[in-house]
């Protein structure tokens, strides 16, 4: 706890209180400098916006698709076990490799996904999905949703299989349709499982970095820049301003804590 949690946190807080001279690399104590700079930095607000959009959209699709697929796979019929096992495959592929795969598949000149979309007439010939500020975030989200929807599926399946059968049998006798049973029984009974799943994925998504770094490097411009990727660029982009990068990391942490606390309170999740 001290090594992996407390020490880095305290270090980051201390670091954020210093101002770094980019030429001499000297640090001077100036507690308000980085926090004031962050407040007036348009890129931070853009990154906060992108991070929240990224998290919200990814969570929505992963949750909805995860539940739908879990409902489809929730069966003991022959072959379903294999299908469920196959669902785990995307999870064992490293995110960087997934990002590289999608980078190629979204290439406007030869990528299979891009060519498919172009063939449907939805985009013009040779259109660069990741090279356009209007579509780049959607391209990155595609990789994110593809890789992590199975995680939701597995959690939902585990939850579905643990539900008692009696209420469903009673509902069927009373003439409830499958849709009614889903909304009146399944969803309420699964609420805790869903909340845990959303919490775990939500915290992870708020720190989004891998796909953005590999597929767009935060671009075009800052169209896909998240808080983590911006902090990375500040530290690793040539002028390693560690104090400012630490400040951005702390802002990310604050957002994670605040949003997850609100969520846990609203959903009555206790850890």
């Amino acid at each position: 706890m001290i090594v992996f949690g407390l020490f880095p946190l305290v270090w980051a807080i201390i670091e954020s209180l210093y101002k770094r001279n980019a030429a001499t690399r000297k640090l001077t104590f100036d507690p308000a400098y980085n926090w004031t700079k962050a407040f007036y930095d348009d890129r931070i607000w853009n990154a906060v916006y992108n991070t929240l959009i990224y998290t919200g959209v990814a969570l929505f699709f992963q949750l909805v698709l995860g539940m739908l697929i879990a409902l489809l796979l929730d069966s003991d019929r022959k072959g379903y076990g294999v299908l469920r096992a196959l669902m785990t495959l995307p999870l064992v592929i490293p995110p960087a490799v997934t990002a590289m795969m999608f980078l190629m598949m979204l290439n406007g000149s030869f990528g299979v996904i891009a060519q498919g979309i172009i063939a449907l007439g939805l985009l013009p010939e040779n259109f660069s999905i990741l090279g356009s500020s209007n579509t780049a975030l959607a391209g990155v989200l595609l990789a994110e949703v593809w890789q992590w929807t199975p995680f939701m599926v597995l959690i939902m399946l585990a939850g579905l299989r643990s539900l008692p059968k009696e209420p469903f049998e009673a509902a069927a006798i009373d003439g409830a349709t499958p849709v009614q049973a889903f909304f009146k029984l399944t969803l309420p009974m699964m609420s805790k499982v869903i909340a845990i799943a959303v919490l775990i994925r939500g915290i992870d998504l708020l720190r989004a970095f891998d796909y953005v770094k590999v597929m767009t490097d935060s671009g075009p411009g800052t169209a896909t820049e998240t808080l983590s990727s911006y902090a990375g660029r500040i530290y690793f982009g040539g002028n390693p301003d560690a104090p400012y990068a630490a400040t951005i990391a702390l802002i990310t942490l604050i957002i994670v804590i605040v949003t997850s606390s609100i969520f846990m309170k609203a959903c009555k999740v206790r850890l």
Binding site: A23, R84, I196, T216
Partner: protein, 505 residues
């Protein structure tokens, strides 16, 4: 398989279910998920590779590649105290690095010093070097330093010329610092009178064109930006339906490659990045003309150019998607590779000559405006190295006459040493084929006559990797500035001038 049996095999689902049902504690949950994470991370480590468009020639092991006997003897004589030491450095997959990685076994055999070369994309090289010098860790004994970082890292390396004098017992006989091309030394390796490292490779802008395509359309090889624009427009209009565009660009938003393209456009219009007053000049009239012309060029390049670095640009050339490109000379050997679809079709030419260059007396921070952007690198000896003498031996070996020639033969890239350019073995390979050197006469001419260099200043690595390419990306992809080049560069100017003033430069 029953669901229960299957469920036992789905580790994460099990954990989540148990945790949500409160069958395991939060501590156990986190511990088990953490273990799974370690497993997945380890799996990923082996799957990442390099992306540099270089193709080796398989010459390692040939007679031409035999190590010089005198070199071997000297290495054996001086390396005794360092036997068993291990030195590390990280580099981009540049042609000389890839060949050197193959040859390093000879060094180890002669010295007993192990060499580990981590080959990663350029931005990761920068990240690793940055981390090392920030903490003065000495994790890397040598740094591969791109020319745009030389000033930034100048305080972190040992001056090799001085060290050569200071350590006569470890000085390689006949190393000959004067054999390095003078423009390379001044434009690449020196900062404020100090050699930050030894020149190691020199990608430089050169015009390359598809002779067959130009002949088909009756276009003469362009010599000016205006002729280039007209040519790529004509080719795009005629060939776009066949999947070919006039040119291909390395215009990836936020990437250094875009900044390289931009600087060349600025210089070609008689502009500069900084003025002698140390103010940013990328937003003056000349620079804006250059950027506007680049916006025009984007129309005649595959749209994927906006998401491509030099790797993507090379792929466009190799795949027959572009006909005239002004970019890195080191693409050339790959285009002539045996499995290339365009083998022998590309020709080298002098870079485009734009308006009169802005004199160096009117620019700042040692910038050298000219018609051929150089993207060279140096090998720097880390001040924080724990094996500095072993690393010094390797550095001299890697930059020696013998190794430079053999790296050139192995990869067809432009050597640093004048002796390598004139080596008979190198000249004999100036024919169409893998690892060709048929472009090197042109490259040498460009180095001697047209070589441009970016500013030498400690903040440049950041500006060239962040402020400039990020805002250029916003402009080119329409995220911001409404296509207004002036508005874009005014934003950059404000940020850069403030940072320069803040740093007290």
């Amino acid at each position: 398989m029953s669901f229960k049996e299957y469920d036992k095999k789905t580790y994460i689902a099990d954990l989540a279910r148990d945790f949500s049902a409160r069958r395991i504690s939060k501590r156990d949950f986190m511990k088990k998920v953490g273990l799974a994470g370690v497993g997945f991370s380890a799996f990923s480590a082996g799957l990442l590779g390099n992306t540099r468009p270089f193709r080796g020639t398989g010459l390692v092991g040939d007679a031409a590649f035999a190590q010089d006997a005198e070199m071997t003897k000297w290495l054996k004589d001086v390396s005794g105290p360092f036997k068993g030491q291990k030195i590390r450095y990280t580099s981009e997959a540049t042609p000389p690095t890839v060949v050197l990685d193959k040859l390093k076994g000879e060094f180890t055999e002669a010295t007993g010093i192990e060499v580990e070369i981590e080959i990663v994309p350029l931005e990761q090289v920068l990240a690793k070097a940055t981390q090392d010098v920030q903490g003065q860790l000495g994790s890397y004994d040598l740094y591969y330093l791109d020319q745009s970082w030389v000033a930034t890292f100048s305080q972190d390396t040992v001056d090799p010329v001085q060290y050569y004098k200071d350590k006569p017992d470890l000085a390689m006989p006949g190393f000959d610092f004067d054999d390095f091309s003078k423009p390379l030394v001044s434009g690449l390796a020196e900062y404020e009178g100090k050699w930050v490292g030894i020149p190691f490779d020199i990608p430089i802008f050169m015009l390359m064109y598809r002779q067959d395509v130009l002949e088909k359309h009756g276009i003469k090889v362009p010599t000016t930006p205006e002729e280039f624009t007209a040519a790529i427009k004509q080719i795009t209009e005629a060939e776009k339906a066949n999947g070919m565009y006039g040119t291909g660009l390395q215009a990836k938003s936020g990437h250094y490659s875009l900044e390289c393209d931009w600087t060349q456009m600025v210089w070609n219009e008689g502009g500069s990045i900084f003025g002698s007053d140390k103010k940013f000049k990328g937003n003056d009239e000349a620079a804006i003309r250059g950027l506007q012309l680049y916006q025009e060029w984007v129309k005649y390049a595959p749209p994927e150019s906006l998401n491509s670095t030099w790797d993507g640009q090379f792929q466009m050339m190799a795949a027959g998607q572009s006909a005239i490109v002004q970019s890195w000379d080191e693409f050339f050997p790959g285009l002539d590779a045996d499995d290339s679809k365009v083998k022998g079709l590309w020709m080298p030419a002098k870079p485009l000559v734009g308006k009169a260059l802005r004199p160096t007396s009117e620019v700042g921070f040692g910038e050298i405006p000219n018609y051929a952007h150089q993207g060279g690198s140096v090998l720097g000896l880390s001040k924080y190295s724990k094996n500095v003498d072993a690393a010094w031996l390797f550095m001299q070996w890697a930059c020696s006459k013998d190794i430079m020639v053999r790296c050139t033969l192995g990869g067809g890239f432009a050597p640093m040493r004048l002796s390598a350019f004139n080596d008979e073995r190198v000249k004999a390979k100036a024919v169409v084929g893998p690892g060709t050197t048929r472009h090197l006469d042109m490259v040498q001419w460009i180095i001697d006559n047209n070589m441009a260099s970016e500013p030498d200043m400690p903040l440049w690595a950041g500006f060239s990797n962040n402020e400039i390419p990020v805002n250029l990306g916003k402009l080119l992809t329409g995220q911001d500035f409404g296509g207004d080049a002036k508005k874009c560069m005014d934003t950059v100017a404000a940020a850069i001038d403030a940072a320069v003033a803040d740093a007290g430069l």
